[in-house]
């Protein structure tokens, strides 16, 4: 149980000793990370909408579209197109109905329910039409599954104890706990508005768990999870710099 802190401490001591014995200089560096996609051909970006499912407490389509648009507005060179969010579930359902009768699309509760709608991303003609409508931008779409989680697991927490002299100590205690939270999984798909073809797609998955007695609104959990995904999303379109320090040796 204490092996980890001891290891961390001993490695810190080793580093300090090494630093004392050698001529070393700490220097700040910024590592540039190149974007995964070349978006030089586009001036505009359209976050079209998402096929979303999971909990009904959060509208994954609307919230994801809104959040990505606001992030792109401040953190990318592309001009963000303001438009109504596309109801992609309906679009995908329309394409599938052959009898012409209006049917309500089945709810998306689990990941496997998405399969029935995913064909819409490969519909080149549809995306080309959307591209023409908005002057051939880069189109961002995909899937978002925001689902509740429940896990029972052993967690480590700190507990106050008092010894026979009445002295207070904090010790780590492992307990079996029921935990609740959410998972956010899906895929960002980048489509060329000129041809309707998919340029790049990227899967994501994040989880957050809280103590069962803690009440956290679904929407704030959603934003907490999206916060973790945003850097990855942005690094697809624009270059990022990671700040850090290193030790130069003499």
């Amino acid at each position: 149980m204490i092996a980890r802190p001891v290891r961390a401490l001993s490695s810190l001591v080793a580093v300090l000793l090494a630093a004392a014995c050698t001529n070393s200089f700490e220097i700040p560096i910024e590592t540039p990370i190149r974007p995964k996609m070349d978006v030089a051909a586009f001036q505009r970006v359209l976050v079209a909408g998402f096929i979303a499912g999971g909990t009904e407490d959060v509208d994954g389509n609307l919230e994801t579209t809104r959040l990505l648009r606001s992030q792109l507005r401040t953190k990318s060179q592309l001009r963000v197109i303001d438009s109504d969010v596309l109801p992609l579930v309906d679009v995908a359902s329309e394409g599938r109905d052959s009898g012409g009768a209006a049917t309500t699309p089945p709810p998306i509760k689990e990941e496997k329910d998405l399969e029935a709608y995913e064909h819409v991303f490969a519909n080149v003609e549809y995306w080309k039409k959307i591209g023409e409508e908005y002057q051939q931008p880069l189109i961002v779409t995909g899937t978002v599954m925001f689902t509740p989680l429940q896990r029972n697991s052993i967690v480590q927490r700190e507990q106050e104890v008092y010894d026979s002299f009445g002295r207070r100590r904090v010790v780590p205690v492992r307990t079996y706990m029921e935990r609740k939270g959410f998972s956010l999984d899906g895929r960002f798909i980048f489509i060329d508005g000129r041809s309707g073809a998919t340029l790049h797609s990227e899967s994501f998955g994040e989880q957050i768990l809280y103590n069962a007695n803690q009440t956290t609104p679904a929407l704030s959990s959603y934003f907490e999870l999206m916060d973790r995904l945003i850097p990855t999303f942005l690094s697809t379109l624009s270059s990022q710099k990671i700040k850090g320090t290193r030790i130069l040796l003499q």
């Binding site: 580093v15 090494a18 200089f25 220097i27 990370i33 690094s235 040796l249 003499q250």
Partner: protein
């Protein structure tokens, strides 16, 4: 007579190599020092030139490879940075400072590799 001369020649050659090696190390050190001074002023290209020279002069001088790795990292050339860190660690596997630099580098490198594999 001839057989006795062979070890003597080898010994002489080894003795002659020691000052040569020491010269190489001191020249490499000078380049490394200059590289550090310019890197601290933000002149990373010049620093790379100096540390590359140092690594050429004395390929067994670990600080030159460590510093080069940092400079390559700063320039975004992660493949070259990895090679240089690995060379530095090959030369000084127990150097805690090189190990620490390499761990921090790997964190970034692994993240970018994972992202592009997705």
């Amino acid at each position: 007579m001839r057989t006795a001369a062979v070890p003597a020649v080898v010994l002489l050659a080894a003795l002659a190599a020691v000052p040569l090696q020491a010269d190489a190390r001191s020249d490499a050190k000078k380049q490394v020092e200059f590289g550090i001074a310019v890197a601290q002023r933000g002149l990373w290209r010049e620093a790379i030139y100096r540390w590359e020279r140092a690594a050429q002069i004395d390929p067994s001088y670990a600080p030159a490879h460590n510093n080069l790795a940092i400079a390559y990292e700063h320039e975004g050339d992660l493949a070259k940075a990895r090679t240089a860190y690995e060379r530095a660690l090959e030369l000084e596997p127990n150097n805690a400072l090189i190990k620490q630099n390499y761990e921090l580098f790997r964190e970034i490198n692994d993240r970018t590799t994972r992202q592009s594999a997705q």
